[in-house]
């Protein structure tokens, strides 16, 4: 552990501030969303997760990322084993067995899979010292990501799978691939769509997609969440109805207002102003992170930052687009803001790595 002055000097305080503000806004929104419900004290637990998350972030920052990824294979294997274990012995929660019961804390296994996969991916890609990936490398990395993706799909947790796939695509494009390969990938993807519709998607997932295409098809069923969420956001107007004053949020019209639809609470109660504030925060976090990637001293650093950031952005954008009624309903949390320990901690661990890369941009 190197605790010299350069350590503190290298910390991107603006990024840390952005993370803290987003998390703080989340606590306020969760507080508002849970007051009328059965769990009015969730905001306290969220504060605990944030504190724990920042502690973990600090811990991650303290260790050189090179040392951290040194054992990425082991971590990866461990997580893969865990996924297999959960598939057979996991406890069902909300219809999926993605949760690892750890006493008082249940860990979302997908979150671990994301971290492990990205770490291993970054490590492998960094080892390829070319400016363009060959077909073999693409295939190998594809397999590396494919295994956890497949396991996660089986849980079933399409969201995490899609996040991982997105991060993989981003990393490949960043590492450089031939145009022909992109074309092939696009064709495979297009062919996989109908296959996925028939064999991978469960009925409720299909309903969600159909409901997205036309929410009024079944306004009290699958389309309900989408309709209520758009109503909540739209009725917020420019300045919102005021904190704790949103009728959609407070009167239980909004589904999952403290987790997946927390952004709708912000939209309703704080209005367009609140929405733009969150968007600006996320854009700032994104740009600061990209800056960390740009200044990284080696490929490993760039890939680590890019992979972690890709997953963060994917989830954040998807969640906000979902609340805005632009994409089908998918159980994504809004990272940093939604209620949930696993997401909060892995997100902050991820940003710990990003900060880590930036701190260590100078060769020592």
């Amino acid at each position: 552990m190197i605790l010299d002055r350069r350590f503190w000097f290298g910390i991107d305080w603006l990024l840390v501030l952005g993370l803290a503000l987003a998390a703080g806004l989340g606590v306020a929104a969760i507080y508002s969303a849970t007051q009328g419900g059965p769990n009015p004290d969730y905001y306290r637990r969220q504060i605990l997760w944030i504190v724990l998350g920042f502690a973990l972030m600090l811990l991650v920052m303290a260790i050189d990322y090179h040392s951290l990824v040194d054992h990425a294979e082991l971590f990866y294997l461990g997580v893969a084993g865990l996924l297999v274990y959960l598939l057979f012995f996991g406890s069902l929660r909300a219809g999926t067995n993605r949760w690892l019961e750890l006493g008082i804390f249940t860990l979302h296994s997908g979150e671990l899979a994301k971290l492990a996969s990205v770490a291993l991916l970054a490590k492998y890609l960094a080892a390829v010292r070319k400016n363009r990936l060959g077909t073999a490398e693409v295939a190998i990395t594809g397999a590396l990501v494919g295994i956890p993706v497949l396991l996660v799909i089986l849980q079933p947790d399409l969201g995490t799978a899609a996040t991982l796939a997105f991060a993989y695509a981003v990393l490949c494009l960043l590492a450089g691939v031939r145009g022909r390969l992109i074309l092939v990938a696009a064709v495979v993807f297009a062919l996989a769509l109908p296959f996925g519709w028939s064999f991978v998607l469960k009925d409720y997932q299909k309903e969600r997609v159909l409901a997205f295409l036309d929410p009024n098809l079944d306004p009290r069923g699958a389309g309900y969440q989408s309709i209520q969420s758009t109503i909540a956001v739209g009725s917020g107007g420019l300045t919102g109805k005021g904190w704790l004053e949103g009728s959609q949020s407070q009167l239980q019209f909004l589904p999952a207002p403290h987790t997946d639809f927390v952004f709708a609470v912000i939209g309703e109660e704080l209005g367009f102003v609140g929405v733009v504030a969150v968007l600006v925060l996320y854009l700032m976090i994104t740009l600061r992170s990209l800056e960390a990637a740009r200044r990284a001293r080696d490929r490993l650093g760039i890939y680590l930052v890019a992979g972690i950031l890709a997953m963060f952005i994917f989830q954040a954008l998807y969640n906000m687009a979902m609340v805005g009624g632009l994409v089908p309903i998918k159980g994504f949390p809004l990272p940093l803001v939604s209620y949930g320990g696993s997401s909060m901690m892995t997100t902050l661990i991820g940003f710990g790595l990003i900060l880590n890369v930036r701190m260590r941009r100078f060769v020592n």
């Binding site: 010292r129 450089g176 009725s235 239980q252 994104t286």
Partner: protein, 619 residues
């Protein structure tokens, strides 16, 4: 670690990602601009209709009281089961149907109700729930989201059939009615009067609906009341009807169909108004159960028709009073002049029979009226000519509505050559004048008009506008009993010679008290005057061939009796019509007797009895 890694290509690719990120965030910004700024009004409204419900609270209609201040129409609490259109749930509905055992008629009604175009008011599922059903639904409120128990005041007629035609009934306002001036200020789903006093005085009786604006959560549970306007009772109305007399009148009919109007000849107050057979207006108070509606609508007896105001009948011999008045006033006859009756008269080549086949011999005007001799009046009619007869008939109020303050009164018909030319494009035949002279032919009257004729003769020419409305009362106020009406100011007066009235009144006295045709109406202690009439149903030529009593009922003649009492300064005037009752003296006169008896000799136990006794003594 290799310090010389060439990171340039990667870093340049990062640039593209940065641009992409900015574009995506700006895109999201645009989307939320669209939602929250451009479409905000729409979504604000949607959010509002999501969680704010306007629950209408129907205002109770005003009370209707009789002249003694007794409540004849009121409201009773009733509970309806409704469901918001916004939180409609077929599963919940089927649970409710199972829970409360809907009848087939109710299910049919419900299906119809669901098809009606959408407004914001909740859909009525079941009407007038029992308290058990209310408790059943209330206790399952959480499992039955959207189901709502609504309290509504329901119009209630505690005496059922009694005075049904005068009081009328209420019903949900129809589309056409919404556009009528009469119902200005009403809204869809309001209950308004559909006939009788309920319609005639709808404006006074209607209250002002209230509304409860409540906030509900996603399960339809009410969280709090945002705004409340309590419903206001409608004003009460005190009627001139006397419930006891009304009851006696209806009972006197004993299942015969017909009509009766009982008036105070001093002011036109309607003391009783009956049409038989009657109906129970309570049936209409709700949204009408399909089966019961059918029973009433398809009723061949036309129960809903108010025969007293809408039934048009030939006046029969009652019309002779008008001929007598006309002849005396026009100087066409002297009261002492005798004319011969030989059981009929051959006029214009046709035989016109008198009801006495053997004839009345030589009779004067008084005798002709008392015995109701046709031959006498055939001759009088020929002498007078149809134009004069028609003029006098109109003077007595025939041919136009009396103007009673109840809806749907008809005019009847006073025929004359002018009318015949226009209506039938035919000339007037002299023989028709002969028929009209004894109240047959085309002349048509209502029981209401006939009662007014009795009142006019009894009061020597005072014409009042008959009315059932006594006075308005503020909502919730108690009514003072108004036992007898005071002398009113007539709207017009028939300025005949005193001697003319004297002849008519003496004759009407004679009809009842000098073994005339109306003796069955007689009450020695009261002093009833009257005139009988028989309105032919079958055509005149067939009349003499068979005795009326032997005919099938629907071909039997209608029976009339009009009269008043006491003889001087009468207090009560009436007209009785018994459909297919045969001769007026036989069936209508006894009904009149019972009504006079109930009024003058009835046991009321009310303080007003003393007043009436005093009046009796004076007369």
């Amino acid at each position: 670690m290799n310090i010389y890694e060439d990171l340039k290509p990667l870093q340049s690719r990062l640039k593209w990602w940065r641009i992409l990120a900015v574009v995506l965030f700006v895109g999201l910004c645009a989307r939320f601009w669209q939602l929250q700024i451009v479409r905000a009004p729409t979504y604000k409204e949607l959010a509002l209709s999501n969680h704010v419900r306007q629950i209408p609270e129907s205002a109770p209609r005003g009370l209707v009281l009789d002249r003694w201040g007794r409540i004849i129409v009121e409201n009773r609490p009733s509970f309806n089961l409704t469901m918001e259109k916004g939180s409609w749930d077929d599963v919940v509905l089927s649970e409710l149907i199972e829970l409360l055992s809907f009848s087939d008629a109710e299910l049919a009604e419900l299906a119809k109700e669901r098809k009606t175009p959408s407004d914001h008011s909740p859909v009525l599922l079941k009407e007038d729930l029992t308290l058990e059903d209310v408790a059943l639904v209330e206790s399952r409120q959480l499992e039955l989201p959207g189901a709502m128990i609504q309290f509504v005041p329901r119009r209630f007629y505690p005496f059922g059939n009694l005075a049904a035609h005068a009081l009328g009934y209420v019903g949900r306002i129809t589309e056409e009615q919404l556009e009528q001036e009469r119902f200005e200020g009403t809204i869809a789903n309001d209950y308004v009067g559909q006939s009788g006093v309920e319609l005639g005085y709808n404006r006074q009786l209607m209250g002002q609906n209230g509304v409860q604006v409540v906030e509900v959560n996603s399960h339809g549970r009410r969280e709090r009341i945002l705004e409340e306007r309590t419903p206001l009772w409608g004003n009460s109305v005190q009627l001139t009807l006397d419930l006891d007399l009304q009851k006696a009148t209806e009972e006197a009919f004993e299942g015969q169909s017909g009509a009766a109007v009982v008036l105070n000849p001093r002011n036109g107050e309607v003391m009783a108004l009956a049409s038989s057979p009657s109906f129970d207006p309570n049936l209409f108070s709700g949204r009408f159960k399909a089966a019961e509606w059918k029973a009433v609508a398809q009723d061949e007896e036309h129960r809903l028709q108010n025969r007293a105001l809408q039934g048009r009948y030939a006046p029969g011999s009652v019309f002779k009073l008008i001929l007598a008045a006309a002849a005396l006033e026009e100087g066409k006859i002297s009261p002492t002049k005798r004319l011969y009756c030989g059981g009929g008269l051959r006029l214009y080549g046709k035989w016109f029979p008198c009801h006495s086949a053997s004839g009345h011999g030589f009779v004067n005007l008084h005798e002709a009226l008392v015995q109701s001799c046709n031959s006498y009046f055939y001759q009088l009619g020929v002498e007078l000519q149809i134009e004069t007869i028609a003029r006098y008939a109109r003077t007595f109020g025939l041919g136009s509505p009396t103007g009673i303050d109840l809806p749907f009164e008809v005019s009847g018909l006073v025929p004359d050559p002018e009318w015949k030319r226009q209506a039938r494009q035919e000339p007037w035949y002299a023989g028709e004048t002969v028929s009209v002279s004894v109240g047959q032919g085309s002349v048509l009257v209502t029981a209401m008009q006939m009662a007014q004729i009795a009142a006019i003769v009894g009061s020597s020419g005072d014409v009042f506008r008959p009315h059932v409305f006594l006075k308005p009362l503020p909502a919730g106020a108690l009514a003072d009993p108004a036992p007898t009406g005071s002398q009113g100011e007539p709207i017009r007066r028939l300025a005949f010679h005193d001697s003319t009235w004297q002849v008519l009144q003496d004759a009407m006295w004679g009809v009842v008290n000098e073994s005339g045709t109306g003796w069955r109406a007689g009450l020695p202690r009261v002093g009833v005057s009257g005139k009988t009439g028989t309105a032919q149903v079958a055509s005149m030529s067939n009349l003499s061939e068979t005795d009326d009593d032997d005919r099938p009922e629907h071909l039997r003649n209608h029976a009339w009796f009009i009269g008043y009492a006491p003889r001087k300064n009468p207090e009560l005037a009436l007209a009785i019509l018994v459909e297919h009752g045969g001769q007026g003296g036989r069936t209508a006169a006894p009904i009149a007797q019972k009504i006079f008896q109930a009024y003058f000799e009835g046991q009321k136990g009310l303080e007003a009895d003393d007043t009436r006794q005093a009046l009796l003594v004076r007369n």
